[in-house]
Amino acid sequence: MAEDRRQLYKSLGFLSSLGISMVAATIIGLAMGYYLDRWLETSPWLTMLFLGFGIAAGFRNLFVLTNRELKRQQREEEKNDAGS
């Protein structure tokens, strides 16, 4: 029971942090595109292109993080099963 609770808090903390990592990537992409546009005066093309890159990077971040966390939890469960 206590072990379950600990896992719950760990997953809670991890999952609640996923949203912002997606938003951050989108914002970085948007900012890069916006300032490149202001510098090269090609508005609005680079903004749109880099916004697309940012969104893709956000989804990629989500994918990588979730994949790693899942693997970690699986390893932990296997170890617990072997230990008990």
Partner: protein, 234 residues
């Protein structure tokens, strides 16, 4: 939203230390720095007291510190594998510093240094720089392959995506910790100004939970990033 009373600020205003009145008036902007120093002082003191008389059968503070560090080491083993042990000092420092600076918020007259963007940005940037230093040290120049993806004609597409993804990491680390701690601070301050007796206590209980979860999340994510840099390119 300002704190009604900050102990270190009060101390400096009383003792003056030879500052001019203008400098003292600006002192409030640097509370996060002095409280970060206070956190460091607490940690150094704890480390000194715990290691002053080392025993084979640890008791008291030494026992407690050993349990804490063993937990962190176990987490590193799970997340990063055997190679990650080399980075234990950095990760343990991050974890303990963030945890103590989050928990310091619950002491009256203290504010958490992590409720300020600058402290968090410093922590996140050191993780960012360390990640790439580890990658370059482990793989040399072929570390760049991690950014270009598996197929050569996809490089113009993958490179910006990877770079943006990597730049987003320090930003999200900073904002996550800052948002949680600052939000908690503001809620506490509002409750304190509305009803100072008993009402803020449930919020402070939540603050303990938030402090532990955020310290854990920051540490876990830095471990994940380090592990990503340690691994072979795909």
């Amino acid at each position: 939203m300002t704190h009604p009373f900050l102990f270190l600020q009060w101390l400096v205003e009383k003792l003056k230390f030879g500052y001019t009145p203008e400098q003292l008036a600006d002192y409030g902007y640097f509370n996060h720095v002095t409280y970060a120093w206070a956190t460091m002082a607490i940690l150094i003191l704890a480390g000194f007291l715990a290691s002053r008389r080392l025993q084979k059968h640890p008791e008291g503070l030494q026992n407690f510190m050993e349990v804490v560090l063993e937990q962190i080491e176990r987490l590193i083993g799970e997340t990063m594998g055997a190679k990650g042990r080399a980075y234990f000092p950095m990760i343990a420092t991050l974890a303990l510093f963030i945890l103590v600076s989050n928990l310091i918020a619950l002491v009256p007259g203290f504010m958490p240094p992590t409720a300020n963007l600058n402290t968090n940005a410093a922590l996140a940037l050191s993780v960012f720089v360390m990640t790439h230093a580890i990658g370059l040290k482990e793989h040399g120049l072929s570390y760049i392959k991690q950014f270009t993806g598996p197929i050569w004609w996809l490089v113009p597409l993958m490179l910006p995506i990877e770079i943006i993804g990597h730049l987003a990491r320090p930003l999200s680390l900073t904002l996550r910790l800052f948002g949680n701690m600052y939000g908690h601070e503001i809620v506490l301050m509002i409750f304190l100004s509305l009803a100072p007796v008993l009402v803020p206590i449930p919020m402070m209980l939540m603050g303990i939970l938030v402090a532990f979860i955020q310290a854990f999340v920051f540490t876990l994510l830095s471990m994940i990033y380090f592990a990503g840099a340690l691994e072979e390119a795909h």
